[in-house]
Symmetry: C2
Subunit: 789 residues, 2 copies
Amino acid sequence: MWLRRVNSVVVEKVVFFKKNHCIASGIIRGLISSPPHSTAYSSKVSSSSSASLSNFLNLRNSCCCQDLKNLSLFSTSSGFLSSTPDRKVKGLPENWGSKKERSRKPVKIGIEMATDEKIEEILAPLRAAVKEQGDLVRKMKEMGNSEIDVKKAVVELKAKKKLLEDRELELSKTEEVFDRPRMEDLLKRRFFYDQSFAIYGGVTGQYDFGPMGCATKTNFLNFWRQFFVLEEGMFEVDCSILTPEPVLKASGHVDRFADLMVKDSKTGECFRLDHLIKATVEKLQKEKGTDKDKQDRMLQVLAQLDGYSKEEMEGLIQEFNVVSPTTGNPVGPPMEFNLMFSTSIGPTGLVKGFLRPETAQGIFVNFKRLLEFNQGKLPFAGAQIGNAFRNEISPRSGLLRVREFTMAEIEHFCDPNDLTHPRFVEVKDTIMTYYSACDQMEGKRPTRKTIGEAVADKLVANETLGYFLARIQMFLEKVGVNPEKLRFRQHMSNEMAHYARDCWDAEILTSYGWVECVGCADRSAFDLNQHTKATNVKLVAEKRLPAPKKIEQLQATLNKAAIGKQFKQNAKAIAEYFEHIDTSELESLAKSLESDGSMEITVKNQQFKLTPAEITIGKQEKTIHVEEFVPNVIEPSFGVGRILYSIFEHNFKVRPEDSQRTYFSLPPLMAPVKCSVLPLSSKPELLQMVTRVTQELRKREISFRVDDSSGSIGRRYSRTDEIAIPFGITIDFETVKSETVTLRERDTTLQVRLPIDKVGETVRDLATGTLTWTKAMEIFPKFDSQDAS
Amino acid sequence: MWLRRVNSVVVEKVVFFKKNHCIASGIIRGLISSPPHSTAYSSKVSSSSSASLSNFLNLRNSCCCQDLKNLSLFSTSSGFLSSTPDRKVKGLPENWGSKKERSRKPVKIGIEMATDEKIEEILAPLRAAVKEQGDLVRKMKEMGNSEIDVKKAVVELKAKKKLLEDRELELSKTEEVFDRPRMEDLLKRRFFYDQSFAIYGGVTGQYDFGPMGCATKTNFLNFWRQFFVLEEGMFEVDCSILTPEPVLKASGHVDRFADLMVKDSKTGECFRLDHLIKATVEKLQKEKGTDKDKQDRMLQVLAQLDGYSKEEMEGLIQEFNVVSPTTGNPVGPPMEFNLMFSTSIGPTGLVKGFLRPETAQGIFVNFKRLLEFNQGKLPFAGAQIGNAFRNEISPRSGLLRVREFTMAEIEHFCDPNDLTHPRFVEVKDTIMTYYSACDQMEGKRPTRKTIGEAVADKLVANETLGYFLARIQMFLEKVGVNPEKLRFRQHMSNEMAHYARDCWDAEILTSYGWVECVGCADRSAFDLNQHTKATNVKLVAEKRLPAPKKIEQLQATLNKAAIGKQFKQNAKAIAEYFEHIDTSELESLAKSLESDGSMEITVKNQQFKLTPAEITIGKQEKTIHVEEFVPNVIEPSFGVGRILYSIFEHNFKVRPEDSQRTYFSLPPLMAPVKCSVLPLSSKPELLQMVTRVTQELRKREISFRVDDSSGSIGRRYSRTDEIAIPFGITIDFETVKSETVTLRERDTTLQVRLPIDKVGETVRDLATGTLTWTKAMEIFPKFDSQDAS
């Protein structure tokens, strides 16, 4: 997978308080790539207090937004942030405006898709504009307009799409409150993950996972292995990270994974040149009074940005007066910068290598061995979990854009003429959200339907692709992604990687906007072909023909004696050359042999001239029973850090009754520790019971954490909630009397009382999902005398 | 862990056959570092046939060994390799001499420690020689002899130890046959692992794990996590591989992980210079007629080899005429070569980084966060599983010496004054084999006793170290290491890494000799001190004093106004300097202030002179409640690839009844796939049953592999045995009638018949070890009509 850039959206919430009551709040959003407070920002306010309008106006003034004319005002029906003292409101609690909170602004919040008719009304003109432009692009393609004109139209289409999408996000309902700084504080404080080498000042784009993050990641990867590798009978491999140059030359990474970069002439700060030119030109586009010619020129530049040479890019720096965005200093000349980390392998320094930028290539170069392992049969899938490395020019957005990351990739090899899937029937009723290339072109909203319908409608190209999309969704939901914040977006033809024939991304909505977390690409036969070309090792599969077939094949017959005599020590290499020759080359040699009476070949950098005395090329009949073909590859590729981050966001919660109590509602499957054991006091008879309980847990391999510190039980619950422990066993004085303990569930904070003998298997069943908490509540008596919250 | 070099022993077996019966066999061993057929080789024959003596003499002649006078002859009581037609013999089967086998010589075999008195008799003089030299070394140390003299004596001691050890290996009993090429063929053929990027010609020292190897490795790591991290409540972390230079500068890797290397002046082949000089000098030592002076000089060179400068090493090349061992060409000048792979992080190219050479440093730099996570309490352990990289000059011995490898490391932080372990009592009765530094010095054999006794005797320094040694042994046995081929060897003081205070290696006996697979070092406070020095971040723990303590402390009081006036913009840096100053430095400053009336400090490369007008240094009384200390670290460090390789060797088996059938007897825990499902025919009614069975297995998350190919059932069993599948479910025609299947165990090849309803939980319990096969044989009726073998 070659991850694309994240288009990030800043979502900032400003909340105003008066006498402990929130009276107004506003949301300000803008693209991260835009300078702050630019015209790309807009604002929205929600309030149910009549006093709020004037406050909102204050807010408006304080926001420095220039296009607040466009803002929409509506009151929320959920009572969100209302001053009504209703403790049961969904989302943010009524007593949100605690002392500590009031001192923390702005607050960042989460967002969700809206369906309101009213909103659709506002969006209608934007949708129409996208559709109009999309139709234009299509028409231009049909009419055979020049490539550059089409590209220009596409740039405009993208701009209109972006406008629509941002507006959609803005207008969407705000049901949940999400406070990123608070979550990041919790993640750091309880060491889920944090910047690497912090005591040395840290390195940007590198993170260390602490005990809780590491356990969550391990659970994620083990479940991935269970869900995909074991369940589907895939072949997991574990390949080298250090990769010699020729491999990545063949895959295209050496040539295409390079970007042009410029440095600030004074500070030495580095910028990716195409991004910098794009930002500069886009800024210029917005300036008033630019004439039509200049506007056209700018559209042209944006459209061609991928295609300029280094020299042309240098020209653009002059033309648009591109300077460092942080200092305003001029920038130096463009330099090639490959995103791969390079090193040399072995002591001679002659073998250039890279840290792999993706795990996929390890599977491709092992294709033959895997095919053999599967006794020559297709389809089969290779899978790999492992680290990959990209020397990002400017890493950012926490785990979303890093230099060292874990990927989990699948390469499903199949017959390109048979893309049915035997287990498709098992997933066909899965309802999913599709944002097709067409819908994007036409400014439509994503559609929802079953994957069965989607494949039948040809929205998704075939069963195999459909099967994986459905499985990806099922997987993501199980690990804790909010299904309402998940969509599958199809790449438009102009944004697809050069190798891909079709590609759908599982995108997850976070406070950074929609983030591509899983790519599912049809790579066709690209990679296997490339490695075959580079190595002369045929990476093909065979399939039995329905009936034996007679074919005529061009074949070279060598007069070995003559060749040996004439070419001596080179004779062997020449013979080998003809063993590996392909048909088209043989054809052209045959032609020149016929027309010129001789032919020339190049072997080991030497030229050899052969005449009919040494070689004859003629057609020969051959009966074949099997047919060779290069398999098609479907590649689901998971960015583990990105998904983990999204899961943390979707599961970050604040207790309605106490805004200071934050926790992660991770599914038990993902929870780093399954169970806490909390003795009410440190009396020896209670501690004895702790040992009995932990033995029960150890026996069943349930991870647990004992907290026998002196804090109140409520405080200790809250500490275990913070690290997402889903179940808590409390040992109280009753335990000593009746050999029973209480069991508390994290999200509901409800408790039951059960015998020690039962606690091991009950927690195991709850943790593995074979028992639900609701069911457990039916089996065992409810308990509520302790401070369970 | 800094792994030491493997001292490899070649073990070659030559078997002679006559009319399908083995009539004689010989074992030839020698150090890999010796040239083949040198005097280091010796030979042994075992045979029970009277005809064998003359054959042995032929063998002797064919071996080119010069010291066959020393060989020992004895007949094996087990009937091993005998011509008696007893099919139940242990070890090699009677019909070993099949056609194919006879064409394959030499055969390599495994070895085991002997206890025979006879052997002890032969070894006695060698033991005495080691003891004598050991005593001499000790005496020289006591007498305060010069370092170089002691070193010379140690070199001789090591040489004598080696002689003894090699002889011990030679004379040890040979019970099992081990055929390395056949095992390697199986590992490659069924793609357990193989060279990386083979289609590109491969890279030495890098391996890709295929489906079976990867699954075995995953099982290994998951069990490691279960056994150590979960069971012991350790804190697992997952840290960055890319490490900035200052971190590895502090750890000592930048300076000490560098070796001198020379290149063959014509081919460019690289050699590690100290190894090359050592080999050259050792060869010269063996030459007859070298005079005493020269012998002394050579001993001196060997003793000082670690301490020579680059220039001195260059002199040695001339002095001993060191040439390329492969071509005899002269070698070029010495070059520094650091074993770490270097790269640069970020686009500027200014941040130099390395691929970590061990995972340990990631834990040390996170010490503060982990201590906080543990609420400031000691002891606790950090753990990490991950890849590390070393740019070996000449990788070899398969998985034993590679450039990219997986480690699993534990850093147990504890109070240096309290090395008791609360769970030591649980392991105290574990019997282990210890090869202490003393025993090595005295030429004694390793001793066996419980770890409880070993700690009581002070053989093992303390409970914490002892606890980990016992746990390491328990772990290794569970994953399939033959306990008879496992010993714990203590480092002698002169071979310990610079940071270590004590170190025991778990060494496993393989066909390459004793291989260090797990190091268990007491690193004292070395690493934390180093990182504190480099970063000024105190990496310490606190402990509550039994009672508050009043102490007098030297303290600097700054006259801020005066300093500000005099040093202006540097005033702040000067104040900070005194915040971090340590007591000894403050003392010396106080002295010079008193004697000279001024003192000088260097801050940010600038010198500042301070007088009593700016600073006073005096003693102040302070009451302290806690005491800071730098924790001690005990580090068990596992080389995953090395252990996996050893497990493959120890579990590689040949069926007694058919030497063509090889398999791995991996414990179910480690087996890559737990169960095979084999329908006797591909009739639809049988295939239907396959689905029912696989559903039962899926439900319980048991990995399985269906083999519905047309091969005979025996052939299919043999194929699943090769990939170590411990249990096989066969679906036959009886299955359709009675809904029962047969279940076969790999090692015994015995079968039972049981209902489909029971097969899921039975296989699960067998695979997790909660049910033994013997027990299962009691529960279900035996079945023996199919060809079960």
